[in-house]
Symmetry: C2
Subunit: 613 residues, 2 copies
């Protein structure tokens, strides 16, 4: 053995692994991807009523929905809510509402004069309005009617990290509040501006920081700017056969920075993990300066780790500018599937068993009977052979097989992996389903179920035009408490609807959207007809609050992935001890002593200043 084996070779070792990084071109924005000003999603897509009085969907974006006539939807929905509302009674609101003028901020504007170009700052009313809300029913109602008492005074569009740093510095020096803005898709009132905020509010729109800075295919990592939307990330990575695998329901519009800030969960987390599993590194502009790391490693133990403090920070600690995330190869095979069960209890028992398996399919979702019916009601007018096939299938299921259309439920599945792997997964899943008296419901139904995730947000805005207020809320809960939680929430919503003597019946439906060994995520939809009601938004908020109390009493979380924002802040004290709340406030104060990042106030302050309704 030589005394020093390294003396001999001075050259750096090279292996097959040391190949280089890819630097993708900047993404190009497509005009057809313009978004609506006052409603969810892309401007090309909307649920409308055709000349025959049936519901249709505009555009071509969503196969199975776009361009289709949906003859069953309206009659079904009228039955469910118990109101035979006239379809011609449509109220499109009065967008844009009155928007308060921008507060003067001469010192701030002077300070950023050298940081931003003229086209990187605006005071346009409609732009400021849009940056002051997410998509809660209360916010969308306000957008279409009376507007807000307070919206951001300025919207700025930094295009690099230096500009973000300049903004933060200027804000600190001149006493201005910054609120980072990603896709504007939150449902937590995170962006809502509190009228009690005396300082000028500046919305920092991250949309110009939407590049993939590099892709490292060997180490399966990419560094991506925080303003990149899921849509852009997916399409650019796919060009190199890669994916981040992170698909929240809002993936088309929400951003990487937003996912980190809200501790987001993707539909396919069984395969790729949630955001905390995917995130390797993060760069942040904070009040203390730029947080960054010298290297990115797969996993480490470094004592107190500011990276993880940013996950779920909801804009309160600083502005995420870039992140390094894990990549995965685009799967060789992707298959959809579905299973029907006679009752929700059977479906839930199947979900529980599946969660105990080592690797459930990428996505598994159980919808309750009402949502199963909803899916059926959303089916386009069947034509020709498809119509006959569909009728026969329906008869088979509800006839000899004994499935009750008023009780049956469905599980939708997405399998991803190698071909072999997907086949094995399918085999295991359908065998397990059979043991729970489940029956294959077909690939097409599975695919539809998955696609409807994207469509349903548009429906909310459609029904709102017809005086129906609707929204979702979600929680996570251990398996043993899931059924009770669902029952209690549904029951409480019925009761609260009764107590308020609201017209018709509430629409209350749920699905189990994520499996863990220890429990699941439950996603609720709630809606009611509100024409003639004095304060429907107030009623909605009160009923949702009642429902949330039931969630917590039944052992559920405040939120599985939507976050806290301002909407759920009052519940934080119900799930954490006072010392834990105190820690959050101390942390916020220590890291942002001036309160530059005031998107989410500390709980103590908030309790003195409840959010406006």
């Amino acid at each position: 053995m030589p005394r020093n084996p390294f003396r001999e070779s001075s050259k750096r070792s090279t292996t097959a692994l040391s190949r280089g990084r890819i630097f993708p071109p900047p993404p190009t924005s497509r005009p057809e991807d313009a978004v609506s000003a006052d409603e969810w999603g892309f401007a090309d897509t909307s649920f409308t009523v055709n000349a025959e009085g049936a519901i249709t969907v505009t555009g071509t974006r969503y196969p199975g929905l776009s361009g289709e006539v949906l003859p069953n939807l309206l009659p079904w929905f009228r039955t469910v809510i118990g109101i035979d509302f006239p379809i011609e009674d449509e109220d499109n609101g009065s967008y844009p509402p009155q928007v308060p003028g921008p507060r003067a901020a001469p010192a701030f504007l002077a300070a950023i004069n050298t940081v931003l170009a003229a086209d990187q700052i605006t005071t346009l009313s409609e732009v400021r309005l849009r940056h002051g809300h997410g998509h809660t029913v209360s916010e969308i109602n306000a957008v279409k009617t009376s507007g807000f008492l307070r919206v951001p005074d300025y919207v700025v569009y930094p295009s690099d990290e230096t500009q973000v740093a300049g903004l933060v510095r200027a804000a600190g020096e001149t006493g201005v509040v910054l609120m980072p803005y990603g896709g504007g898709t939150n449902v937590t009132e995170a962006l809502r501006c509190l009228p009690c905020e005396e300082r000028p509010i500046v919305s920092v729109d991250m949309s110009r920081m939407n590049r993939i800075e590099w892709i490292d295919p060997v180490n399966r990592m990419a560094k991506i700017q925080a303003g990149a939307t899921g849509r852009l990330i997916q399409s650019q990575l796919a060009e190199y056969g890669l994916t981040m695998g992170h698909e929240p329901d809002s993936v088309e519009l929400s951003t990487l920075g937003g996912w980190i800030a809200t501790n987001a969960s993707g539909m396919k987390k069984n395969q790729y993990g949630n955001i905390e599993d995917i995130l390797l590194d993060v760069t942040v502009i904070s009040a203390a300066g730029k947080l960054e790391r010298a290297q990115v490693v797969p996993r480490e133990s470094i004592g107190l780790d500011p990276k993880v403090w940013m996950i779920g920070s909801e804009g309160s600690l600083g502005i995420v500018t870039t992140a390094v995330v894990k990549l995965f190869p685009v799967p060789e095979e992707q298959r959809y599937g579905s299973i029907i069960f006679k009752t929700f209890e059977e479906g839930l028992a199947f979900m529980y068993e599946l969660a105990q398996e080592e690797r459930p399919p990428a996505s598994v979702r159980l919808v309750d009977n009402l949502q199963f019916q909803f899916g059926q009601a959303l089916k386009p007018a069947a034509r020709g052979a498809r119509r006959i096939k569909s009728k026969v299938e329906k008869w088979l299921v509800t006839g000899p097989l004994g499935f009750d259309p008023e009780k049956m439920v469905a599980v939708t599945l997405v399998f991803e992996g190698t071909r072999d792997d997907v086949e094995q997964q399918e085999k295991r899943v359908y065998e397990l389903a059979a043991r729970h008296a489940g029956r294959k419901g077909g690939v097409e139904n599975g695919k539809r179920g998955y696609m409807l995730t994207f469509g349903i947000a548009y429906i909310r805005d459609f029904v709102l035009r017809h005086h129906i207020l609707g929204e979702s809320f979600e929680t996570s809960v251990p398996w043993s408490q899931a059924q009770e939680l669902i029952d209690r929430v549904k029951r409480r919503i019925y009761e609260a609807h009764d107590e308020r003597k609201l017209p018709g019946r509430p629409f209350v439906s749920c699905r189990v959207t994520q499996l863990y060994e220890t429990g699941c995520c439950v996603y609720f939809y709630m809606a009611f007809y509100s024409k003639g009601v004095r304060d429907p938004v107030g009623d909605y908020h009160e009923i949702e609050t009642e429902a949330r109390k039931e969630v917590i009493a039944a052992g559920g979380s405040i939120s599985h992935h939507h976050g806290v924002g301002k909407l759920r802040l009052p519940f934080v004290k119900d799930i954490m001890s006072p010392a834990m709340v105190d820690w959050r406030n101390r942390m916020k104060k220590a890291l942002d002593p001036q309160g530059i990042f005031a998107a989410q106030l500390p709980l103590g302050d908030h309790q003195q200043n409840p959010p406006p309704r």
Copy 2:
């Protein structure tokens, strides 16, 4: 559809899932599990020299090692370090060393008088000594020679959360420092007491808080007290067919609280995850009071989340009293395996490919040639048929198959899962190995490799008695930089050994112990003969520091799972921007303004007061 379907049934829903919790009895401590006072591990196990001058292992604890004679170890080790040291030249040190007397703390003692019973507090010198160190070479050397300038002044043994709260309150009121103590197995000088600390130091030994409070088999969770060792957790859970799946190399002795505090990684993380994946909830006694949650959920989005701040907090924010962790069924099948490769590069390429697979085996470890040789040298004297078989195998491999004993390396494997699953895993792994010119190395070698993990810490103490200083250090690194990092570290250690004109040759060996899609954990062993050297511990520290610089220059982390402690604190500024370091210090100050939990000082303070050598 009835107006309110819940009106009819007022009884709570019951499903097959709502079964109860198990409350296991408290664990019983076995006298045979007594630990050594001045060396690693259990008192029944030690490497010693028999009458014939060969190395043997005492006790019966480790099959394949305990009770065996190891005839090849001494000759091999002498060759490797290039010193034909006489085995009779043994220095057992002069344990116990001088221990400084306890500082007076009358106010604290008066304050805890009503909190703890008399048998829950001690000033015994040897107990205080043990609570003031981990297992770095510097610390163990000090234990056996000159001792420490500063050790804890008092050791307390709380038996419940109320007592911990009483201790923290008393410490805050009377100006005392608390250092939580778990298994005392750290290798980061986390427990080392700084002489500059003027206040009395109290070590909070958590060993009496070692219960599993409950097991929830339905939701696969358990609430466990922080002082429970891995050994106790494993054996108690196994009675119910369950496991936490978390097996750091120190699992026999280290504790749940320590795993959380150090952000620990288990050998089988591919199957069960690292501690951050397993931890669901944590209860902490902090300077601000008790941090606890109203419910445990599988995953949630609650804004700033103090739970994750505790992971890697290294005793600096508070004392973890209990945690809720995920459980897994004890796998139906567990199989060992091994693969040999002709070169490290081939082995590393195999590891990389395997990491890209969706689910690698529970544990996969690649040892370099020196460590492979080490494993061979540790084999007991072969007898009879085993001897012949072993000789034939050896001839086959190094003869016709062309494996060079001075170059070949090995991968050890642990497969866990259902029988089918394990068989599929084995098939995939061995097929992949064949594509990299790897050959099956046998089940027995795999099992030995895994078991040696437990034995190797004892060897360190054995060689120390023979003037050989040795220790491990670890890092994590992206795949593409792994080979370069390993080469640079080994080269630098040889150079540094040369520069210091130390006797013989250094022992430098590494293994890749964890796979991630994005990179791996690399674990180094370093040792050298030190007889006649003026300041061997100082040399060791300097060489290790040089090696660590190479690690960081090659893109490696400060630590994959050992943590920072006081030993690696000076490197934090090399991997984090000043603002990030500032955040850590602000956070520590905000959550522990009096510095009650001073186990790890903020970086700024530390730089003014380097740790004693």
